[in-house]
Symmetry: none
Subunit: 226 residues, 2 copies
DNA sequence: ACGAGTCTTAACGGCTTCTATACGAGCCGT
DNA sequence: ACGGCTCGTATAGAAGCCGTTAAGACTCGT
């Protein structure tokens, strides 16, 4: 779940923000001073910060700079000042958005979503989705299977099937699910396709194709990768 | 240099934007209709789009959706409407920012900078600008390939393909992905383009063009650079 | 307006892969 | 023990995909 850190010293506004964001399925942390904000950013590691510039203990831009000194998380600035100088100053100092008070709650939430969506894209591709068993390794992003250090050549449909199974490793995947995912809708009756290609997969991946240890069939239901 | 595509049908406003952005060291392209905008996004590949929602030929949100269908570039929406419904609609549909007219030019430029800054972070940290294989070296920032110490001359399309593959080195890049990234949306069916240009690439880069070692084809799925 | 370089388009052959079918093995409840 | 059902295996022909080539269309600079 997305964690939002809200920084504001007005209790009423802070409360309103917390309530509204919680209602929209965000996990919310709150801070009322610049010092507390910096501390919480470091400790909680939120996915986004909503920062009111009018804080009692330090200048809002300083807080922003303090965050930007070591982190790239999106910061959405909130302020009563609407002059373009103020906006430009915040944006040039690393803010991702600038909203003037009073603001509309729906818009603010939409802007929070937009900012997190973009920053999530960045971290998305980093972790390679690799599924391992004792006998072989499936690299879903590279579309390769390695067994005993050697890449196993799979045909397109074999790969598709294995990919679906790997995506639900351990879980049971029904035949219908597999058929529609791999062949598209309308092939739900072609259970024999599955049998043929599962056999090919086992021949290539299982140590003993006749006694499957990893590509398990769940009679009457479907298949499972363990 | 950062390239920005400005989409607006009011000649005066369009001109003002172009002038101001050029003065701030942006490379600027312009479009006056939704259709022209979509075409230019695919051809020019700007780093950011400034999109006025009030276009004569199609709904601004449609244009936005048309871009988002295949590309992640930042889109900054411009509109005369200031209701929160409109803002939310644009932001939920993939807009990165929403500015209401009339707007301050300095603020707009600051917001453009903020959006490009964030999107640049994404491509910077992840992909190494230089990709090396045993046979040749790809310098993505200089757009050159070196083989045996000599620069290999590539045609624009060849380079574009190689660039996409290099950005995902080791990973499988599907044919559709390659086609939309290189030719733009609507070319997903032209698999033969890929065949022809991949052949040319291999002739120039592979030691043995008939037995590819680096530009690997994964039948039925796509290509991979190793 | 011309020419060099580039992209599109279409066709073909070779090879791999999928489909479709048939048959045997195993499991289950009666 | 037996019939019914599902699953695994084998195989031959059909279909699909890829690499290659070459010719026409196009773009650009001269």
């Amino acid at each position: 779940m997305t964690t939002v850190l809200v920084v504001d010293d007005e209790a009423a506004l802070l409360h309103a923000l917390v309530i509204n964001l919680r209602a929209r399925d965000f996990k919310v942390e709150a801070a009322a001073t610049g010092r507390a904000a910096l501390e919480k950013v470091a400790r909680v590691r939120p996915d986004i910060v909503i920062l009111d510039l009018g804080l009692p203990d330090m200048d809002g831009i300083e807080v922003l700079a303090g965050i930007r000194g070591w982190s790239d998380i999106p910061v959405l600035v909130l302020s009563a000042r609407s002059t373009s100088e103020e906006k430009v100053r915040a944006l040039e100092n690393g803010a991702d958005d600038y909203i003037t008070k009073p603001f509309d709650m729906a818009e603010l939430v939409a802007r929070v979503r937009a900012a997190t969506r973009r920053s999530a894209m960045r971290t998305a591709g980093i972790t390679d989705p690799i599924v391992t068993t004792e006998a072989f390794v499936i690299d879903r992003s590279a579309a390769t299977v390695t067994r005993d250090g050697k890449v196993v050549r799979l045909t397109p449909t074999e790969w598709h099937i294995l990919d679906v199974l790997a995506a639900n490793r351990g879980k049971l995947v029904s035949q219908q699910q597999l058929l529609t995912q791999v062949w598209g809708p309308g092939f739900e009756r072609q259970g024999n396709y599955l049998r043929v290609h599962m056999a090919a997969l086992r021949r290539k991946l299982e140590p003993e194709a006749s006694r499957p240890q990893y590509l398990i069939t769940e009679p009457g239901l479907g298949y499972r990768l363990v």
